[in-house]
């Protein structure tokens, strides 16, 4: 009885969490432009505020009051509607799952979204499509919350695509800007391409698992005696078991959304969207959906080591490559974009090296811990960058410098965020990164080395950014007050700054673990000392090079020579894609298709016009050939099928 009361309460809370943003989107989208022009921002923010409060309350109740039974966090289903009975054995339910990761995520998503809503009040003020902007933000928040609460893999896929749609709309928000249009299309296409992997993965898993429900799927595919488990592990394609195929395909979807190498090419371009949007979607929430997806299916991943290996190496390579590229970029938002990619790579490989349960699950916990802290400091960095761009009217580092006195609030906030991402104690990033390093040290030394090196690089490029923006030279503009922006822009910065300091103290390790049992972690001072010293050294090095304008940065570039050049060009990944699409696909597939098109279809149309003119007489013109060609094709079709199926393929 008590159980039922509790579940009903969750439904009561979680439905508004989803429905408020949706209602807000419909309200602003349908009526906003005409009637609510000025109030739209306030309406959006107010509804988001309510959503945040409810989310925090629900999560608080779950974590501290009734989520735990006998010391283990439960997977509850808040509500579940049988949405569609696909066939007698396979039905699709729409529900909400209540477990540690979903609760953590709704807090993160709603909180960051609220901050962005508030920030945009000032940042987007005077924008012609202000209302549309808030409508899109609501749509995104709705989809993202729906994604994290999904209790069913198909439901998640719907929201997954919806998140992609809203991201597409928001990246292309400045639709008069050609680069924004191109970027939005690129982002949509690349992630959609990755989603096809996800789709096939869903089909494979559901075909063998016989269900689309997460809990049931996990239960069936992790029990070694179950018929589903036996059939999926014994069936194989190209010598790889179907379980591995299914998981890897699902991971392809996750990698696309989370901008993992080599599907990351859309993320830097996505920075064409408004900066607060980058903070929300491309830093804190949507891009971690891939991590969330792997975490959601983690029990299944954990029994399939090859799939986890792939997750590990894709994550590690992304972390490293992105960090190297970030060192060379001069566009402030692009640096942040690559750093996002690098940090998500961190989360990915932490998941990859983890195993299920107890101490072995440290990587899992660490990954989600890092997701949690990263959301705060990365959105802070983006919002800070937003203030700077708003003031300087440029994204380029060379237009900045010496801004520390002009914008004291932003300066402090940015500094805190940089310290947090670099992993300097006692800021938030230190704790989560420490966990990841510990976990990787215990499972794979090579990964540990990559992680450590990436951490050092991270500190270096973040402080390169910091010193280039705020120090380096004296500001050229003087006496401008209000460089920090309006109060609505300052408040989120200050709140997020406090979070970036404090988030590391939230006992995520006790709350979010692979098997629901709280994990006892202990800090090893000696172990932590190595990364801290290296990171401090990197910061010092960055300060030497970038605090004052001198030639040392250029000398460095020269010293690294072609490597530096390759990194500036993002290792030519974009060029490789262009080469493959333009040269290979166009020549091998497009050209012949074009040839057929030109010589058969087009030539036919033109031919008809020409012949009709010449022979003057439509019937004659038609008889002169081409319907016969059609008949010929028709007949060869029949003949081909006949030969194939009567003689060859019996």
């Amino acid at each position: 009885m008590k159980e039922r009361v509790r579940l009903m309460n969750y439904q009561q809370y979680l439905l508004p969490v989803l429905l408020l943003p949706l209602a807000c989107f419909l309200l602003l989208g349908l009526f906003g432009k005409k009637h609510l022009k000025n109030a739209s921002g306030v309406i959006g923010t107010a509804s988001m505020f309510a959503v945040t409060i409810i989310s925090v309350l629900v999560a608080g109740r779950y974590f501290f009051a009734d989520g735990k039974v006998d010391g283990v966090y439960q997977h509850l289903i808040a509500y579940k509607y049988n949405w569609l009975a696909f066939s007698p054995t396979l039905s699709i339910d729409m529900g909400a799952i209540v477990d540690p990761i979903s609760m953590m995520m709704i807090v993160v998503v709603s909180f960051i979204s609220l901050m962005v809503h508030i920030f945009s009040l000032g940042y987007m003020k005077g924008e012609e499509r202000f209302t549309t902007y808030y409508a899109y933000l609501s749509l995104f928040t709705f989809s993202m919350l729906g994604l994290v609460l999904s209790s069913n893999i198909f439901q998640m896929y719907i929201f997954w695509e919806l998140v992609g749609v809203s991201s597409f709309l928001l990246i292309g928000f400045y639709y008069n800007k050609p680069s924004a249009v191109v970027a939005s299309k690129k982002a949509f296409m690349v992630t959609r391409f990755a989603d096809f992997g996800f789709l096939i993965g869903i089909l494979v898993l559901s075909f063998y698992g016989g269900t689309l429900d997460f809990n049931a799927l996990i239960q069936r595919l992790t029990a070694p005696q179950s018929g589903e488990f036996v059939s999926i592990t014994t069936a194989s394609f190209l010598g790889i078991s179907m379980l591995t195929w299914g998981l890897c395909l699902v991971f392809v979807g996750g990698a696309g959304k989370s901008a993992m190498f080599p599907l990351h090419i859309w993320l830097p371009d996505a920075m064409e969207g408004p900066t607060p949007v980058s903070a929300l979607i491309h830093a804190a929430t949507m891009v971690v959906a891939g991590v969330y997806l792997v975490a959601r299916l983690f029990p299944v991943f954990a029994i399939d080591v090859p799939a986890l290996q792939i997750v590990t190496w894709v994550g590690a390579i992304s972390a490293l490559v992105a960090a190297i590229i970030a060192c060379t970029q001069t566009d402030i938002k692009r640096v942040l974009a690559y750093s996002t990619m690098s940090q998500i790579g961190y989360m990915m490989f932490a998941l990859g090296i983890s195993r299920y349960g107890g101490e072995n699950g440290l990587g899992y916990t660490a990954s989600l811990f890092h997701l949690f802290t990263h959301a705060f400091f990365k959105s802070l960095l983006f919002l800070g960058a937003g203030v700077i761009i708003h003031f300087v009217h440029s994204n380029d580092l060379k237009d900045m410098g010496g801004l520390r006195k002009l914008m004291p609030v932003t300066h402090i906030a940015f500094l805190v965020a940089c310290l947090a991402i670099a992993g300097v104690p006692p800021f938030a990033g230190f704790f989560s990164k420490e966990e990841i390093l510990t976990a990787s040290f215990h499972s794979n030394k090579i990964i540990y080395a990559i992680a450590l090196f990436t951490a050092v690089l991270t500190a270096f490029y973040m402080f390169r950014l910091y010193f280039s923006i705020f120090w380096r030279k004296e500001a050229t503009v003087h006496g401008t007050h209000n460089a920090d922006g309006t109060a609505s822009m300052k408040i989120p910065l200050i709140v997020l700054m406090i979070c970036s300091v404090g988030a590391g103290l939230v006992p995520i390790t006790k709350m979010v673990t692979s098997d629901g049992v709280p994990l006892e972690t202990h800090m090893d001072v000696l172990f932590s000392l190595v990364p801290i010293v290296l990171v401090l050294f990197a910061i010092f090095f960055a300060a030497r090079m970038y605090k004052k304008e001198n030639g040392s940065a250029g000398k460095m570039a020269v010293a690294f020579g072609s490597f530096y050049k390759a990194a500036t060009k993002k290792f030519y990944v974009d060029e490789i894609y262009l080469f493959i699409t333009r040269k290979v696909i166009f020549n091998l597939i497009g050209r012949p298709a074009a040839w057929i098109d030109r010589n058969i279809i087009d030539a036919f149309v033109n031919g008809v016009a020409a012949t009709t003119a010449r022979i003057s007489g439509l019937i004659k013109g038609l008889q002169s050939g081409k319907v016969q060609t059609y008949a010929l094709y028709f007949f060869s079709g029949i003949a081909g099928l006949a030969v194939l199926f009567i003689y060859l393929w019996k």
């Binding site: 391409f193 096809f196 059609y630 028709f634 006949a642």
Partner: protein, 469 residues
């Protein structure tokens, strides 16, 4: 007993009644186009409502004609599409001198389709098929002053004569080897002998021609481009839908002994169709041609769903056709309106369309998104269900290629959306006033394209009809 046949054939009777009403109206005093169109729209609406009540199961004329609640529902989908097309062609028909003839042709074709879907005998099936095709060839020629229109009509009649001949050849061979043409008797007599296989291939080719499956599709683009938009949308939605319904039932009942053969055959044909349709759609400049090729690709996806015989496949196909009615007709409706008012048909003409026609732009965008399968539009669910229906052991290659092609199709649909919203154009199309009738049609289409996917009872209803059968 005669009441039995009135009730069982009520949908056919209703169509015949409409044809007679039109004839009498035409014979009487001169009437304005408006009065014809209004009468027809009201009658079509009544016809649609009638289709949902008093549906019984039954067999008539020695199994020549059979009906069930599922068949009645399928006919109703076609009725709905017919109504939407009628509403949408308002602007085009307003100035046309031959309104009654247009309706008579369309309704005759519809009647043929009804008989085809209801047939329980291959002869009846053939009769229905012919009855639906010949009026369409005349209708394709309806732009009497345009050469393209006549050209399209000629091509349609020639190619369909060819395909009918093949179909008939196949049917006669089947008769020769089995001695019967009744659906319920054929499955027991069909085995893998080569003559029957060849007959089967000929019959498949006849179907494939109608639903434009590659390589039997070549007529499609020319006819679609030449015919008036109303006829094009009829061809691409109603005609295709009807043949698909008949195809599914013939394939799953009559040819069930050959399941292994047609599975492989559909595998090849669907891949050919999807890939060819997509590759050609990418390059098209003419909007109608573009929709023609994109609809070829759509049929390829339907074949993926059909390839595995099951209740789920049948449901998914009918469900997809329903969604396709809404999304494709919305797209054709906008094109029809724009063509009727401005005479422009190219995709590049639509650059900056949003600036002048925001409402129509949204209709078109939702339609294209639904065709591309972007959630939350219904097309997303339709495609997903088709893929699930087609997925099974060992055909990951097919499913993967189909899924990749969904992405490719997204590319060219987005290209149009981009032209509408983002491309600058100094001389965009003028602002177009939408008359009431097309507006109603757009509202129905958009509502359908947005809600059918999310509202699960629709799928459940179709599924229940099939399980009942």
């Amino acid at each position: 007993m005669w009441t039995d046949f009135l009730i069982l054939m009520k949908q056919e009777m209703a169509v015949i009644a409409m044809i007679f009403i039109l004839l009498f109206m035409k014979l009487g005093r001169d009437r304005s186009n408006e009065s014809f169109m209004n009468t027809m729209n009201v009658l079509l609406l009544l016809n649609l409502i009638l289709g949902f009540v008093f549906n019984h199961e039954g067999i008539l004329f020695n199994e020549m004609f059979r009906t069930s609640r599922l068949i009645a529902f399928e006919k109703n989908i076609l009725n709905l599409a017919m109504l939407i097309i009628s509403l949408q062609s308002y602007s085009w028909l307003k100035t046309n001198k031959h309104v009654p003839e247009f309706y008579i042709l369309m309704l005759s074709s519809l009647l043929g389709m009804f008989f085809m879907i209801s047939s329980g005998n291959l002869l009846m099936f053939y009769l229905g098929l012919e009855m639906s095709t010949i009026p369409l060839a005349a209708a394709a020629n309806f732009d009497l002053t345009k050469r393209r229109s006549s050209e399209g009509a000629m091509k349609l009649i020639f190619s369909s004569a060819f395909s009918s001949a093949c179909l008939l050849f196949g049917i006669s061979m089947l008769y020769g080897t089995t001695g019967t043409l009744v659906f319920s008797e054929l499955p027991h007599l069909i085995n893998n002998n080569p003559l029957q296989l060849f007959a089967f291939i000929l019959i498949i080719a006849g179907f494939a021609f109608k639903i434009s499956v590659v390589p039997f599709h070549l007529w499609t683009a020319d006819v679609y481009e030449g015919a008036p938009v109303a006829v094009t949308s009829f061809l691409s939605v109603v005609s295709k839908g009807a043949v698909l319904f008949a195809f599914v039932s013939v394939l799953y009942t009559v040819f069930s002994p050959l399941a292994k053969v047609w599975y492989n055959m559909l595998f090849i044909l669907s891949l050919l169709t999807i890939i060819t349709g997509n590759l050609f759609a990418i390059r098209q400049e003419n909007f109608k041609r573009f929709l023609a090729f994109s609809s070829i690709a759509q049929v390829g996806f339907i074949l993926v769903g059909i390839s595995r015989s099951s209740d789920i496949s049948t449901t998914s196909v009918i469900y997809f056709v329903l969604i396709y009615v809404f999304s494709n007709l919305a797209a054709f409706g906008v094109v029809s309106l724009v063509t009727a008012v401005t005479g422009k048909e190219n995709i590049s003409d639509y650059k900056g369309f949003y600036k002048t026609n925001p409402g129509l732009s949204w209709v078109l965008t939702i339609a294209l998104f639904s065709l591309a399968g972007v959630p939350p539009t219904a097309g997303f669910f339709g495609k997903f269900f088709l893929l699930i229906a087609g997925a099974g052991k060992g055909n990951y290659v097919l499913i993967s290629i189909a899924a990749v092609n969904i992405v490719i199709s997204l590319y060219y649909y987005l290209r149009v959306v981009k032209a509408i919203f983002m491309d600058a154009n100094p001389t965009p199309l003028p602002s177009i006033r939408t008359p009431l009738m097309p507006k109603l049609a757009f509202i129905v289409c958009v509502a359908g394209a947005v809600t059918i996917g999310v509202v699960s009872p629709v799928y459940d209803y179709i599924y229940s009809l099939i399980v009942l059968r």
